[in-house]
């Protein structure tokens, strides 16, 4: 069985945990995230008839109280960069996170997931920035933790990118 470590990165409260809650196997409570700074879940995906086990490190988003632990990114084969469509700053943060990742562990595959697509009317996202990023070769997907939209697709897309 092929296993891959992937991380979930994004600002505080962009819905990283909610996004995957319904889609993963988990034995740990979310308390770990606020204590150890990470919560580990597992998700099996099937890409091109190939079963891949994704070990998902849901890393606590940086906030005023806790800094993100970059050590947790070590050995990751890819990551989901999560932003909140209703908060413009989170996308900016995502961009800077991507840059930081590149510095820390190198260029590894990632997918930008813009969450809360169910609240599309409240979005304050700059479509220009979005298309600009897409032009840079970023894989961008919109998702909703509420409806489940785009979640499976995000994992599949990331997996494809990782398998190259």
């Amino acid at each position: 069985m092929l296993q891959k470590k992937i991380c979930m990165l994004g600002s505080f409260a962009v819905g990283k945990t909610s996004l995957v809650r319904r889609f993963v196997e988990s034995i740990y409570s979310e308390v770990y995230q606020t204590t150890v700074g990470v919560k580990i879940d597992k998700k099996n995906v099937k890409v091109d008839e190939k079963e891949i086990s994704l070990v998902l490190w849901d890393i606590y988003g940086e906030d005023d109280y806790q800094k993100m632990r970059w050590t947790y990114l070590r050995g990751a084969s890819g990551y989901l960069l999560v932003a909140d469509g209703t908060r413009k700053t989170t996308l900016e943060k995502a961009v800077s996170l991507e840059q930081k990742v590149r510095e820390e562990v190198g260029a590894i595959p990632f997918v930008l997931v813009i969450n809360k697509s169910d609240l599309i009317r409240d979005w304050e996202l700059d479509p220009a920035l979005e298309s600009q990023l897409a032009a840079h070769g970023w894989g961008i997907l919109r998702s909703s933790a509420k409806t489940g939209e785009g979640v499976e697709e995000s994992f599949s897309l990331l997996t494809r990118k990782m398998l190259g």
Binding site: Q3, K5, E25, V55, W57, R69, T71
Partner: protein, 606 residues
């Protein structure tokens, strides 16, 4: 690549040619003024002939002058040169020459990144260090022993007693008591990714997804290392929750974690290190290039299961030989005693059963122990002795057993005799004896009882024939009966008369019948019989007269009997006068008895 072809291309080989070359070399620079056509043609020819050599020469110049290409040349032969040097026997000088450089290089390497060298040395350092630690531990144990010697806790005393009993050192006993553990799960975790490479689990252990546990374990390692700023290789090596222990051993590429229930011995740590080293040695390339595919680590779980040790309290309980033998001997004695008691009990019952077996009227069909009770089965004649009396006089406990009897007719003589007696109810005067089914009857019995005894006795089970003693012969009995009746008869006459009164004539009829019975019986006995009729008179009167009278009286009765059908040949009439009086004539009535005729049956023994 061999050295010979390389030498042929060595720039030095071109030297002789180079020495000859300058005199023939034309002065032909590209910026020279144009020459005559002939000169031009010569130049071209020259160019044509000498150009390749000239170019080669040019290249050689460049190689010699350029440090980079010189390095390249030396680099390609340096290994061979060192080899050659060693072959020539100069390796000591070489070592001396290289040592400072190598030392400096190592120092530099350690200064730059100690991990590199540590990683390289990891597989070889472990065993060496462990050996040295073992030595240290051994001496430490001695002092540990000393410290424990001082302890006087209840447990300590208990262990001390055990040590005394078993002849082991106290330390050993104390340690043995601590060695109660089980390794439930073993994880081999890729250090960089936190992904599980291998997972071994003991049987019947509830386990979580190894990927999640591995991830979290390495996250916690990272967390601790990060939080306390420890260096690489200095993470948690033990976590303890209740009676669960997680022991972690770190290698350069992988982490080995054992989940242990209970208190594991120190040498498990050594085992873990050994396994981790073996894994690193065997899979070093795969570990380095691990991309999440565990397919190349197929055999790793087998390695990991070497750590799945366990030891239970029962196993470490050691007993001295003396104790074991003592227990065994006691057990043996108990068993022997019990067997002995059992056997005594059995023998008692067996004796009782044999006694019963010998009794008439008993047949034992089976005897044995059923559900720890003795059970005797057999048949018993109702007339046989009561078994209770034998049980009472034996030494068995009646409560330990039971008897099951079914009825039958025994053929033992004694029993058959008893049976005949109870069925045939003989008179007290009769004597019964039975011998092999033959009933012998003797003594006295009435003719009536004897009459059908022959047929009745055959109905008694066990009797197939009857023997009557001669006196009980029915014919004889009838004969005797008739004889006594006849001989009891008295025919009375009036004074001085031989005439029969009508009453007496009537009584003679009865007498005649008795005589016929007598003759019948005599016939069956082949007995010749004579009936003597005796005539009597009283003592009055002359003797001669009386004698005559008595004769007439005898004749008269004899005649009358003849009239009544009694054959005359058996009758003997005889007058005896007064010589044989029936009674003393002290009164008239008695005198009357003497005026009579009486009878005597004469039957000579045949």
């Amino acid at each position: 690549m061999g050295s010979a072809p390389r030498h042929s291309r060595d720039p030095l080989e071109f030297r002789p040619k180079m020495a000859e070359a300058p005199p023939t070399r034309p002065a032909s620079a590209p910026d020279e003024p144009p020459l005559e056509p002939d000169a031009q043609a010569y130049l071209e020819l020259r160019q044509l002939i000498l150009a390749p050599e000239q170019e080669a020469l040019e290249r050689l110049h460049q190689r010699v002058d350029d440090p980079a290409s010189r390095t390249e040349d030396v680099g390609s032969v340096v290994a061979e040169a060192i080899q050659l040097r060693r072959k020539q026997g100069g390796d000591e000088a070489l070592s001396v020459a290289l040592a400072p450089t190598i030392e400096t290089a190592l120092r530099e390497s350690v200064r730059k990144d100690p991990a590199t060298l540590a990683d390289a040395l990891f597989p070889v350092m472990g065993p060496a260090i462990r050996r040295s630690i073992l030595e240290t531990l051994r001496s430490f144990l001695e002092s540990f022993n000393h410290i424990l010697d001082q302890s006087l806790s209840v447990k300590g005393l208990k262990w001390r007693l055990e040590a005394l009993r078993t002849g082991r050192s106290f330390t050993e006993v104390a340690l043995l008591h601590s060695l109660v553990f089980r390794v439930e799960q073993v994880f081999l975790i890729h250090r960089k990714t936190g992904l599980p490479i291998g997972h071994a689990v003991a049987s019947a252990v509830a386990m979580q997804d190894p990927a999640l546990v591995s991830g979290m374990l390495s996250a916690i390692q990272d967390f601790v290392r990060d939080s306390f700023h420890t260096s690489q290789g200095q993470g948690i090596n033990r976590m303890n929750v209740g009676d669960l222990d997680v022991w972690i051993e770190e290698g350069p590429y992988a982490i080995l974690a054992c989940v242990i229930r209970g208190i594991a011995p120190r040498d498990l740590r050594d085992r873990m290190a050994e396994v981790l080293e073996d894994v690193h040695r065997e899979y070093s390339a795969q570990l380095d290039e691990f991309d999440g595919d565990t397919a190349t680590f197929v055999k790793v779980n087998g390695e990991l299961s070497r750590c799945l040790e366990h030891r239970y309290k029962e196993e470490v309980k050691t007993k001295s030989f003396a104790f074991v033998y003592g227990t065994a001997a006691l057990g043996f004695l108990l068993i022997a005693g019990w067997l002995g008691w059992r056997s005594t009990q059995y023998n008692r019952w067996d004796r009782l059963v044999n006694t019963l077996r010998e009794q008439p009227g008993f047949v034992i069909t089976s005897f044995g122990r059923e559900h720890s009770r003795f059970v005797v089965r057999g048949m018993r004649d109702p007339l046989a002795a009561d078994p209770a009396q034998f049980i009472k006089s034996s030494d068995v406990n009646p409560a330990d057993g039971e008897f099951h009897w079914s009825g039958y007719y025994a053929l033992d003589d004694g029993i058959v005799e008893q049976r005949a007696r109870s069925i045939l109810s003989p008179p007290a005067t009769a004597v019964f004896t039975v011998k092999s089914g033959v009933l012998c009857v003797s003594g006295a019995a009435s003719a009536n009882w004897v009459k059908d005894i022959q047929s009745r006795a055959l109905l008694v089970p066990g009797i197939h024939s009857v023997e009557l003693s001669p006196e009980l012969n029915p014919g004889r009995l009838a004969f005797n009966q008739a004889k006594s009746q006849i001989e009891g008869g008295v025919v009375k006459f009036p004074v001085a008369s031989a005439a029969l009164s009508p009453a007496e004539s009537l009584s003679l009829r009865k007498l005649a019948e008795n005589i016929r019975s007598l003759l019948l019986a005599a016939d069956s006995l082949h007995q010749s019989t004579t009936l003597e009729v005796l005539g009597h008179t009283d003592s009055t009167g002359a003797e001669a007269v009386n004698l005559d009278l008595s004769q007439r009286r005898a004749d008269r009765v004899s005649w009358a009997l003849g009239q009544l059908g009694v054959p005359e040949r058996i009758l003997r009439a005889r007058g005896v006068g007064t010589t044989n009086p029936l009674r003393t004539e002290d009164n008239e009535e008695n005198r009357q008895f003497n005026r009579s005729a009486t009878f005597r049956v004469i039957a000579p023994v045949p």
